[in-house]
Amino acid sequence: MERDNHQAGQAQGVSFCDPPSESNPPAETLATSLCLLGNHMFPDSVERKEEISTGADKEEPADLHQSDVKPNEQSVDAELLSNQVKKLETEEIETLEELINESTQPTDRDAEDVAMDNDQSDSGEFVVTMLAKAKLEEQGIGVKGRSSPLLEAGIQESPAFISHRDEDVTADSWRQHRKHVFVLSEAGKPIYSRYGSEEALSSTMGVMMALVSFVQSGDNIIRSVYSEEHTVVFLQKGPLVLVCVSSSRQSEDQLRGELLYVYYQIISMLTQASISRIFEHKKNYDLRRLLAGSEKILDGLLNLVDSDPSFLLAAVHCLPLASSLRDSLSQILQKAITPNLVFSILIAKNQLLTIVQEKTVIEDTRLEPADVHLLLNLIGASSAFQAGEIWTPICLPLFNPDCYFYAYISYLDPPECTVCLLLLSTDKEAFYAVAECKRKIEEAMVAQNSLSLIAKAQSYSVSQVGVSDLRHFMYKPFDVPDNYRQLTQFTSPEMEAPYSSDEEKMRLLDLYRYMHSRIHSTSRPLKLIYHVAERETLLAWVTSKFELYTCFSPLVTKACAITAITKLLRWIKKEEDRLFIRYPPKYSTTPNPSKSSRGGKSDQQDTTDNGFLSLL
């Protein structure tokens, strides 16, 4: 079996890049500041034409993790793999083994490719110096920069005052963060920085913007910059530019997906329409005025993105629950309705218990996992004072980026505050009516003793699957049977020993992220990867029906792994009703549906800014 080229790549990582060059001439300010980005270079490879796209108005796909599988390929494979699944169910495991053997071939090719990329990185030149000299060639050919300390420019303008985000942006510790995220406006104004204050970083962000617009002026779009230590990914969405500087070794697509979550979280607070209008109105508007106080929501989101695989999989994790209990909870929600109520969501321990939705308003759509993630993050970040009932506007960017819903958030089990009710209405004035729904729900739950039953619900241990070498897995079905347009979900056991510490959890997630990037590689998507890492063995498999990531103890044989997966799939099938929300009920609350929250340019447009535009 081929040995883990990911690990090999990492091991080589240090050697295949240019040593810091001391002999470079002192760079201009632009060049110096750019060094914040590390030694970023454009790898001089075929792939670079994608990185510096020549289409000025190239659009980001709307969905976060679009399948990279090519359609024709998929149809062929779908058949093949559905056969595989069938065979699996009848214990024809050899076929899976065949598949694995097949899959090693592309893996081998990939190993070559990694090496090739490395060579190209070697020969690549840093963008930095060239940019400073304004000599970037039209095709954006890699140009070599120098590795000077990060942020020299930042130091110059670092203000004296200390804000609450008072991390010293000149310190080593600042540079060593695994993943920096910056948001700036097209005019180069800082909007958000994950670490350190935006003010202290304003010159750095100005430089990033200079980089973006410089490349733009040549009708190119800057998409990413690579160095031996960092990947820098740019994402422009409307008047906002998002930049991620990461040493996490995630793929560019994954990092861009994460930036998209950050963008969507901002949209969820302000709406896309009002952000556009603000910047139409005033190009150099300081958006921090409107986002002040929301930094913790963005901080929280980025922490979740790093630690919760829901974001990677673009799927929702629900709490395992006896289907009878889940159904009775759904029915309770279904009965407590009021006009213009569109979603009723019950959450425990930050996981979904059940979700009930309005029929007509969302007839032809489903709630996107990303919108649920944003909601869960908002709840997590704003529930410090849990005794009250919160009523707040919130936009679900994937549902409709231009309109607000009004969210009622209340905990049902004070003072523990683990069970949270979220009711979404399209009517701004509906607080008291919606709060009344909560009373009804509360009453019904008392009558059925639901809270104590919910309290007993917990995530499960992988040991319940009964496969000794299996340590952990993530399983995401593409469609829960009988429920087309169902909310995309995944199931996963607790992370247990040896993945108990935060570091180990993160390490496992990183391995999954690596497997995910391979499966979803744009240039060479894979169906199946058997990956022998140092301390564990992983197997990832994507079919037309599901996506599966498994982690085994290191010495597992391939045959064992295959048997284990067969057992696992059978176990999941058996437990399906408990692991997933299978039949999300609906209610009807709009006798006269306005569809306003869906329609976009409707009467609700006026209120999309919450009145803050009047303050401009």
């Binding site: 607070m269 302000l270 005025r289 409107l290 986002l291 002040a292 106080g293 929301s294 913790k296 908002l378 970040a381 704003s382 529930s383 410090a384 004072f385 005794a387 009250g388 009932e389 919160i390 009523w391 707040t392 506007p393 969210a407 049902l412 004070p414 701004k428 004035e429 607080f431 709060a435 009373r439 509360e442 009453e443 008392v446 009558a447 209120t607 800014d609 919450n610 009145g611 803050f612 009047s614 303050l615």
Partner: protein
């Protein structure tokens, strides 16, 4: 367990307004939970129900962030009292009250009362550092309950013997004086077209508080609650004439009965 009081329809509404970070959530938290703890900037508005004697007072803790600006008038609709909060160490927070928040109160009751509250007095005022709820003192519920009856006495204390500065370590510059606040109160009355002589006097309606030490916090809320009582009584009388609200009352009543039988 959900409180029985939540089944009741609130009799009257009190709204906390003011710029972000002035301490609205902390004030309410100090009053209802008898604690000062870390807060997160409020999103939208948070609704609380407070039992006051036989009455149910709803309190809206609103977000001060500009992002939620337009919602303020909704939260203020029909309010019987509005607490306009600023931070005594931040002049701009007083300016914002006039420029950004006052107009939001246009939807409140015609006889709405206004309080102007300078919070974080502990940062500027030695006497506000000593209070019934000082962090250094035991967080004991009963002890504080007893203390609650004598906030006036406490606020009237002369400079306490213990070095107050030692509590927080420093005294900050007070950017907004009590006189500034009273002047704002006068302008609020004018904005509302009210005669000073017919309204509650400025010295009664301007408070300096500390959510951190508890200084003047009970006084603030309890003074206001007492002042809105007439408004409650009038509303109850109006409600007697309204069949829709009677229905609501019945529902609330039956819910309460159902609950008491199960308990």
């Amino acid at each position: 367990m959900p409180e029985v009081s939540k089944m009741k329809k609130p009799d009257v509404k009190v709204v906390l307004l003011g710029d972000m970070n002035v301490g609205k959530t902390s004030l309410l938290h100090r009053y209802t939970e008898r604690k000062f703890k870390d807060t997160i900037s409020t999103v939208g508005g948070a609704f609380f129900l407070k039992q006051w004697g036989n009455y149910h007072i709803s309190i809206w803790d609103t977000a001060g962030r500009e992002q939620f600006h337009g919602l303020g008038s909704m939260y203020c609709r029909g309010a019987a009292a509005v607490i306009l909060t600023y931070d005594v160490t931040n002049w701009q927070s007083l300016v914002e009250l006039e420029e950004r928040f006052l107009s939001l109160t246009d939807t409140s009751n015609h006889d709405c009362i206004y309080a102007v509250v300078g919070n974080k007095a502990d940062l500027t005022d030695p006497k506000a550092q000593m209070s019934q709820d000082t962090d250094a003192v035991l967080e004991d519920q009963t002890e504080r309950e007893e203390d609650r009856t004598e906030p006036q006495v406490l606020s009237a204390w002369p400079t306490p013997p213990a070095s107050p500065a030692s509590l927080s370590g420093m005294i900050l510059h007070k950017q907004v004086t009590h006189e500034d606040a009273m002047a704002l109160y006068g302008r609020i009355l004018r904005y509302k077209g009210l005669e000073e002589k017919d309204s509650l006097p400025a010295d009664k309606m301007c408070f300096e508080t500390s959510a951190k030490t508890g200084y003047n916090v009970d006084t603030l809320f309890e003074t206001l609650f007492d002042l809105v009582l007439p408004s409650i009584l009038r509303k109850r009388n109006e409600n007697k004439a309204s069949p829709t609200v009677d229905l609501e009352d019945c529902r609330g009543g039956s819910g309460k009965r159902a609950r008491s039988t199960c308990c």
